[in-house]
Amino acid sequence: AGKLERLTLSGPFAAVSFPLIHMVDSGALKDVAETVEFVPWKDPDQLRVLAIDGKGKVDFIAMPSNVAANLYNRGVKLRLINISTWGVLWLVSRDKSLKTLEDFQGKEVLMPFRADMPDIVFQTLADKAGLDPKKNFRLRYVGTPLDAMQLLIARQADHALLSEPAVSMALRKTKSFPVSVIAPELHRSVDLQQEWGRLLKRETRIPQAGIAAMGQALADPALIERFQQAYAASLKWCEARPEECGALVAKRVDMLTPEGVADSVRADNTAFVPAHEAKPELEFFFAQLQARQPALIGGKLPDDGFYHAPKK
């Protein structure tokens, strides 16, 4: 097949996107397209604009798995091709001694993004632990992870549910001048992935984010295959060289620091799993979300057309 003119990758500033950035930077897909570019999306509005079909602007887009299902159920033409992020949710706390969800009973926990996936996961887990999320915790919702971090650092709050790379950024900040002078250390406390495994009696991982194919890529299984390989390679590269990956990402994304990204790469739970293989776990995950907040996945479980399966 002829070379494509342009290939557009897109993703949020989170772990799923690091391989995408590496792919663009290293020229991994040079043989496929003349230009390969990375377009970040920062909020749901931008995502919506990128996701409208027919425009064919974006080919591969990284997003949380539930958002992909949501868009699919709303009629956007996309297919999930892989899941790479299996756990980025942590409780960050000033108190070293808190080990499990139960330990946080009666405490005020900052929660960015009300009714979004992390909130629902937290509630589900709390429920399984026999706790009422509304009664046994004092959940304080804030607008963005940034606000939560600011409140933590300003000692206005002691615990927060954060995701990578915000966790690493916050931890780095509190150890570095001048912040650490005032704010005592924060700790990476409960790992929600572990709790997921413990309380739901499953593997200790949650299929949180991955890549969806759209536009011209949808009709081109070869392109998807090529992308999958490159992505898996880049993911491996990042895992192997956190420092280099951090430098690379921070160069492109002003908002992240190299150390923060590196820490985040070390901490997060990545594994390249093609969508059809992840399907059972995804369906379980979606079912949990649907039970509490159907709107998160667009009201229903996505049908089979959602999961990309390579032709054997």
């Binding site: 749901p44 996701a51 409208i52 606000d147």
Partner: protein, 268 residues
């Protein structure tokens, strides 16, 4: 009392003259429908869907509590801004020095992005109503202040001389001399502030709060539920239109009655 009476008696005549307003709202709906057809439902659902969603929200009882919370915050912030802005603005208008001193502060208030306040507001007011109320106040106060200031300074010097000669006490100067004139400057400021207050309170809730329309908006936004998002926005705008046309306009008509008659007499 007079205001209340005026409010009640003003309504029928008012509704009658409101056809133009309604017509233009329908034009707006038509434009929306058109844009929706072009862009598709994910970007911009059509008005029918949105109003159906809104009706659903209202029926399920989900809408009223959120609207009430938001309205309370907007109204509190607005009331504070109107009281402080009108009074301080008029006082600053009477004294040249006060006006010189207050102007740059107003500019600073006007031009500082809310980001700068938000952290402080969260610190001072925590998760209470304080933060959105404060944000509304900060956003509306300068608008009203500037209007009151300008209105006071443009009062006809001849009438000011009358006040001097007839030795009006400060209270009368404010209420019998300045206010009736300044009101014509305050009204556009109040209308602007009313609109601003709703917009700002929603944005502030969106950023910082657990309840209210803004929070609901944030949720539906993160769920990519465009119809619900627009339904909430429609609810806000409809409330705003109601407040403006049922409350502010009749009051305006009453307070500016002398002016209306003047125009009619002059041009009839």
């Amino acid at each position: 009392m007079t205001l209340l009476r005026a409010w009640l008696t003003g309504i029928p005549a008012y509704l009658w003259s409101g056809w133009g307003a309604i017509a233009s709202l329908f034009l707006l709906l038509a434009a929306w429908e058109g844009a929706s057809a072009v862009h598709g439902a994910l970007i911009l659902p059509d008005p029918g869907t949105v109003f159906a969603t809104l009706a659903g929200l209202v029926d399920s009882g989900a809408a009223w509590p959120e609207l009430a919370v938001t309205a309370r915050r907007a109204a509190t912030g607005l009331a504070l801004a109107i009281a402080a802005g009108s009074t301080l603005g008029m006082l600053a208008g009477i004294s040249m020095t006060a006006s010189m001193m207050s102007r740059p502060l107003v500019t600073v208030l006007l031009g500082t992005p809310p980001i700068a306040w938000l952290v402080l507001a969260m610190l001072w007011f925590g998760a209470s109503d304080g933060t959105p109320v404060f944000t509304v106040f900060i956003a509306c106060f300068p608008v009203i202040f500037v209007g009151a200031l300008q209105g006071t300074r443009t009062l006809d010097g001849h009438l000011r001389e009358v006040a001097t000669v007839y030795r009006l006490p400060l209270r009368m100067k404010l209420f019998d001399l300045y206010l009736p004139h300044v009101v014509s400057y305050l009204f556009p400021a109040w209308i602007t502030a009313l609109g601003t207050s709703w917009k700002v309170v929603v944005m502030a809730e969106l950023l910082s709060s657990a309840d209210g329309v803004g929070a609901a908006l944030a949720v539906s936004r993160s769920h990519l539920d465009t119809a619900a998002t627009l339904a909430w926005i429609a609810a806000v705008v409809l409330t705003l239109l109601t407040v403006e046309y049922l409350l502010l306009e009749p009051v305006k008509r009453e307070l500016e009655g002398w002016r209306r008659q003047e125009t009619e007499g002059g041009a009839a």
